[in-house]
Symmetry: C2
DNA sequence: CCAAAAGTGTTCGCGGTACACCCATGC
DNA sequence: GCATGGGTGTACCGCGAACACTTTTGG
C-alpha cells in the first residue's frame, strides 16, 4: 500500500555504489520505577518478527531528524518528543542484506502522553524495561547500550530529564528519575537543596492528587530562565 | 587515474533513490601558541579552489572510520591520529550537486609528526589557525565550529589533550595546551598540583633541550594506568 | 490513630582558588 | 650578572556529603 507522496519503487542509477542510509530511534520513557525503551516487532524480513528499534530509510527530501520523527510517527504513533542525534553506525555486516549505515537518534517521551500503536512495518509496538529487553535485530542492542550511556552522561549536565516528566512534577518524582537513570540512590535533602538552589524550578500552587498520604507540591521547570542563564555561562549540573 | 582496487565508474541501480554518503575530518594540531586546523584546497568542482575539510565518499567495503583515515591519508598524507566521530550532517542543501550526508570526524595530530602533502583531490594542504580560517566550502565552517565545541568539552573530562603533544612533554606545554583550547589562563601552581595529584604523569629523567633558560622536566602520560583507573570508576577532570 | 511520604538544617571535610618568591640555566 | 622561565606551599572558602526527626494527609 502506497499513500500519495510516497512514490513506489523505481530505478535509480549511480556511477558508484552507495550504502543505504537509515535512521533508528531509541525512545526512552520513564515508568513508575524503571526506564523503558520503545520497540517494534518487525513485520518484514530480515529479522522478521524480531524486536527492533523503530527506524527506516532516509528519503531525499527530508533531513535526518525529520526522517527519525517520521519513522517514529509511522511505526509507533509517537510524536512531539525530545530528539537528539546519538551516533552513526556503519559496521560492514550490520545488515545481512547489504551495506546499511544508520544514523541513530535517542528520544525522551512522557510515557503518559502517548498512546502507542503499531503501523506500517511494525507488527506490534511495546515498551520494554531496560533490564528486560528481548533479543534485538541487527546491532540494535549496541545502539541501545550507547543511548543509555549517553543519557546517563547527559542528564547530569543538561536538564533533559524534564522531558521524561509531565510539565508539573513533584521533587520526589524528579529525584526518582535521577535515581533510576543514574542507578544510584540520592540523598533527599541534598537533592532538594541542590535543585532548588539553581532557582530553575517554579513552585506552583498545586499539589499532587489522589495519593493517600500528604500530597507533594508540584513544580515546573523554567526553561526560559534556563536558556537565559545558559547564555550567561551558567551550566546545569547534578 | 585509477589505481588497482579502485574500480572506476560503473552502473549501480537501486529501487529507491539514495543520498550520497561521505566522511569529513576536522584535524586539529597544536602549534606554539594556537590551535590549527588542516584544510585542503579543492581540485575539483563544486567549490573548486576553495578550502575545505579533507574527506570524501564512503566505499562499500570500508567502515566509516576507515573511510575517514583513508581520505586523510590520500588527501593530506596524515596517518596515525586519534580519531573520533563528531556528528552526522544531513541538511538538504549542504551540497549543491545532490543530497549528500556526511559523517564528520575530528582528529588530533601531533603537528611535528606529520609532513603534510597534497594529493588526489587536493590542490594544496595547509594548517590554518582557528581564528584565521578562510571561507570554507559546503557547510564545513559549521562542522569546524562543532568540532571545537566538542574538543573543548572533551578535553576537560578525558585525557585527549595528550594526543596533541609529543610523547614527552613539559608541564608548561601541557598547561599551554589547556589554555589554548579552553581560551582561559590557568594558574601554574594549581594546574601542576592538580595534574600531578592524579598520578597519571610519569616523570622521566630527561629535560627539554635547546632552550636558553632552565630546562623543564619531561613527563609521559601513563595510558595503561589511566585505563586501569577508569575501569575502577575514576574519572579524569581538569 | 496509624501509615506513608513530605518537608526541613547543620556539621564536617575536601578540593578548588588565590597568591609571590627563589632557583637553575644559557648567554 | 641578567634575563627567562622552572618550580614550589599555604590559607581560605564554598560545596558536596552525611545524617533524623517532625508534619501533613487520607483512610
Amino acid at each position: 500500500m502506497t499513500s500519495p507522496g510516497e512514490p513506489g519503487p523505481g530505478t535509480f542509477t549511480y556511477a558508484y555504489p552507495r550504502p543505504a542510509l537509515t535512521v533508528d530511534c531509541v525512545v526512552f520513557g520513564l515508568d513508575v520505577d524503571d526506564l523503558k525503551v520503545l520497540l517494534i516487532q518487525r513485520r518484514l524480513e530480515p529479522h522478521q518478527h524480531m524486536w527492533a528499534l523503530p527506524g527506516g530509510f532516509v528519503r531525499l527530501d527530508e533531513t535526518l531528524p525529520d526522517a527519525a520523527r517520521r519513522e517514529l510517527a509511522e511505526e509507533s504513533g509517537i510524536t512531539d518528543v525530545y530528539l537528539e542525534q546519538l551516533y552513526t553506525f556503519g559496521a560492514l555486516d550490520r545488515d545481512p542484506r547489504e551495506r546499511v549505515v544508520t544514523v541513530a537518534y535517542y528520544a525522551l517521551a512522557k510515557l503518559s502522553d502517548h498512546r502507542i500503536r503499531a503501523a506500517t512495518d511494525a507488527e506490534r509496538v511495546a515498551w520494554f524495561a531496560l533490564d528486560g529487553l528481548p533479543r534485538l535485530a541487527f546491532d540494535h542492542a549496541k545502539i541501545v547500550e550507547r543511548a543509555i550511556e549517553r543519557l546517563r552522561g547527559k542528564v547530569r549536565y543538561a536538564p533533559v530529564g524534564f522531558e521524561l516528566l509531565p510539565p508539573r512534577f513533584t521533587l520526589t518524582q524528579l529525584q526518582r528519575l535521577y535515581e533510576i537513570i543514574l542507578m544510584q540512590p540520592l540523598d533527599k535533602r541534598n537533592f532538594r537543596k541542590k535543585l532548588l538552589s539553581m532557582d530553575l524550578l517554579i513552585e506552583t500552587d498545586e499539589v499532587e492528587q489522589g495519593v493517600r498520604h500528604r500530597a507533594a507540591r508540584l513544580y515546573r521547570f523554567d526553561k526560559k530562565k534556563y536558556e537565559k542563564l545558559t547564555r550567561q555561562g551558567f551550566s546545569f549540573a547534578i
